[in-house]
């Protein structure tokens, strides 16, 4: 039981980060960024590449492996964040902004977002980019934390140290992002922009500037979480769209455009993915768990479209 909950929390933290970026972009620009999953994959593979390029430097300097790993990873993570923010800003500036200005319908951005998703799907597996193979980083820290006799179950509880580390980092990023949105001037400006564009302009907020910042931040979060997850599981260059769909689901569970909702949605889906298969396993139905989760969500959304904490609107 503890194992299941811990796994759920771990996955939930990762998911929450993906959903946060998506909901931010949606809230600010009313754009459903179909390429969000691709941004995530880009971040993962970029971090992987950077890590492998510089990890030997640490060994060369005579550091102990785990320290070298962690330092290298932190460098790779920061590089990924910067790179993805840059990519996001470019996307907004040169693609979305132009199309939003020229198009007579809001929904046109969906087409553009889908096209950018296709483009990334096509570019990432190319020979000179990342290649077709899936990659993952070796465990950053050896060993694991375990409890032989947990309180609620018979099987021992087990959590690798690197998972603890990555989960901690994810929580740290979430907290950092929330604090940024809540307590800083740019964060406040972005929230204002999401709630009332005209009123925000009347306060002196440059819409273009902060929309770009928002898109950059959203992409950055997606890429950052990609970098975190690539240390745990294999990520292939075409895995993007399945993550996009999951991210959409999380955003919908919590309520579109609501920061708190994205986090709630992430944890709910993470927990469900961890708990449902466990509950179904005794009946030999574990392979139905995805179906059950998705169907349950559809039913939930049909009756509560604004999600857990969203505003009802359409």
């Amino acid at each position: 039981m503890e194992q299941v909950i811990a796994n759920g929390l771990f996955t939930g933290a990762q998911y929450a980060l993906i959903a946060l970026g998506l909901t931010l972009i949606f809230g600010l620009m009313n754009v459903l960024n179909f390429a969000h999953g691709q941004m995530f994959v880009l971040g993962a593979l970029f971090a992987y590449t950077i890590f492998n390029h510089i990890v030997e430097l640490g060994w060369f300097l005579g550091m102990t492996p785990w320290l070298a790993n962690i330092l290298t990873f932190m460098v790779a993570l920061v590089a990924t964040l910067v790179f993805l923010a840059f990519v996001g800003a470019l996307f907004e500036r040169f693609l979305f902004r132009t199309v939003i200005k020229r198009s007579s319908r809001d929904e046109s951005t969906m087409l553009l977002a889908a096209a950018t998703a296709f483009l990334l799907d096509a570019l990432l597996p190319m020979k000179h980019v990342f290649g077709e193979l899936s990659h993952s980083l070796p465990a950053l820290i050896e060993g694991s934390f375990s409890i032989e006799q947990p309180w609620f179950s018979d099987t021992p509880f087990y959590m690798p140290y690197s998972k603890v580390f990555i989960g901690g980092l994810a929580l740290f990023l979430i907290a950092g992002f929330m604090a940024f949105m809540q307590y800083t001037k740019p964060g406040r400006a972005m929230r204002a922009l999401a709630q009332d564009k005209i009123a925000a302009q009347l306060m002196g907020v440059h819409v273009d500037r902060f929309t770009m910042l928002g898109f950059a931040l959203g992409a950055m979060l997606a890429g950052g979480i990609g970098a975190l997850i690539v240390t745990i599981t294999n990520i292939g260059p075409t895995a993007g769209s399945s993550f996009s769909i999951k991210a959409f689901i999380m955003v919908m569970i919590g309520g579109a455009g609501v920061v708190g909702g994205a986090i709630a949605g992430g944890f709910v889906l993470g927990m469900m993915e961890s708990i449902v298969p466990t509950l179904l396993a005794p009946y030999d139905l574990a392979n139905l768990s995805d179906l059950i989760i998705f169907a349950a969500l559809m039913i939930f959304l049909s009756f509560r479209p604004q999600g857990l904490m969203g505003k009802p609107w359409g």
């Binding site: 949606f26 459903l32 179909f34 693609l95 132009t98 199309v99 020229r102 198009s103 007579s104 319908r105 929904e107 046109s108 969906m110 087409l111 553009l112 889908a114 096209a115 950018t116 296709f118 483009l119 799907d121 096509a122 570019l123 190319m126 769209s241 769909i245 959409f248 689901i249 955003v251 919908m252 579109a256 392979n287 139905l288 995805d290 179906l291 998705f294 169907a295 969500l297 559809m298 039913i299 959304l301 049909s302 009756f303 479209p305 604004q306 609107w313 359409g314």
Partner: protein
């Protein structure tokens, strides 16, 4: 506010009819004649084009849901279910394919009632997302049922002959393995033309007008006594019927069903076809499907670059024509109408400066300036 010459609607009808006749001539005679020039090379186009015709049908369904103000990313569900329903009826129950396709459509529209009742209340992205998720659910359903063979290969025989009920008179001959491609081509374009004619009829009917009012303002429409729940359900059911039939034919044409026949990707594609064609015209989805699908097909020699080039082309198209290919027509119209319109604007503003007298007379007797100006304006409007 648009300035319309009186003859426009009459002109439109004639242009439309001429285009229809031309298109039918092209599809029924022109293309077969072209392919007959060099059958070895070109006959694969029968398959490509019938695929396009069927997909454009499904997109027409998506377009119809757009018409009632809903972004539908779930047409893949009904295409997939349609294909499997027809396949199961043919293989497991020995039904004639042509009947099974109709049953596929009917069952899909019944299903759409069940799904539609709760989800059609949603709007905007919420509807879009729920339908997107529904495609994922459909994929998972097919993967987990024994009757669909877990979504792995499900072989279909070519369609048997269709006879008039109770007689031996053959309406549609049985498809042979070699002739199936040609047979499906004619079946598909016939269905496509019927679909778009039906759609055109629907849009220009009273129900179509009501749907349009839904797109603009649901509260208002319902306050005018329109039963919007029913209207939306019917429109959605029609959309799903078309999707189911298209799926059934598409599956039969492939002669082999599997779960990846229609995925989330395809649901998104239907949406793209509609966008790319243009949402203001009935033929939008047709134009969009032909352009994108044929373009995609022509790019196949580029191998690993196919998707990249396709995506780039999409992005460039978005830049040039953000409102779809059919917006070209609108541009053209504007180009014809503009001289007239511009003249009107000029005549309006030319007289303006004359009546800004108000301020000067301000202080004591404020009445002076009121008089004629507003009235003369009103008169001109």
């Amino acid at each position: 506010m648009k300035v319309k010459p009186h003859t426009e609607s009459g002109l439109k009808t004639w242009v439309g009819l001429a285009a229809l006749v031309l298109a039918m001539g092209l599809f029924y005679f022109g293309i077969p004649a072209l392919i007959a020039q060099n059958p070895e090379v070109y006959s694969r186009y029968y398959t490509t084009l019938s695929g396009i015709a069927l997909l454009s049908m499904a997109s027409a369904g998506v377009w119809l849901t757009f018409y009632i103000g809903r972004i539908n990313i779930g047409q893949g569900v009904f295409c997939l279910f349609g294909a499997y329903i027809s396949g199961i009826l043919v293989v497991n129950y020995g039904m004639n394919f042509w009947y099974s396709a109709i049953w596929a459509g009917v069952i899909c529209s019944l299903l759409s009632f069940l799904i539609g009742l709760p989800i059609l209340r949603l709007r905007g992205v919420y509807f879009a997302m729920v339908t997107l998720i529904s495609t994922q659910v459909a994929t998972l359903v097919v993967q987990n049922l024994a009757i669909t063979k877990q979504g792995r290969s499900f072989a279909l025989p070519p369609p048997a002959a269709l006879t008039l009920p109770g007689t031996d008179i053959v309406v549609i001959p049985a498809f042979t393995l070699e002739g199936a491609a040609v047979g499906f081509y004619f079946a598909a374009i016939t269905l496509m033309i019927l679909t778009f004619l039906g759609l055109y009829r629907l849009v220009n009917s009273r129900i179509g007008q009501l749907c349009k009012s839904l797109q603009q303002n649901e509260e208002l429409a319902s306050s005018l006594g329109v039963n919007i729940v029913w209207l939306r359900l019917v429109a959605y059911a029609i959309s799903c019927f078309v999707g189911g039939v298209a799926g059934a034919f598409y599956g039969a044409q492939q002669a082999n069903l599997n779960v990846s026949l229609f995925t989330v990707q395809d649901s998104v594609n239907f949406l793209l076809y509609c966008f790319m064609g243009g949402l203001n015209y009935v033929v939008g989805p047709l134009i969009g499907t032909i352009t994108l699908r044929l373009g995609w097909d022509q790019l196949s020699p580029t191998g690993e670059y196919q998707l990249a080039i396709y995506a780039l082309a999409l992005i460039i198209l978005m830049f040039i024509l953000p409102n779809g290919l059919m917006s070209l027509v609108e541009e053209g119209k504007k180009w014809f109408i503009r001289p007239n319109h511009r003249q009107k604007l000029q005549s309006m503003s030319a007289q303006k400066p004359v009546k800004t007298v108000a301020k000067s007379a301000a202080k004591k007797r404020p009445k002076t300036a009121a008089k004629t100006a507003p009235k003369s304006n009103k008169g001109r409007k």
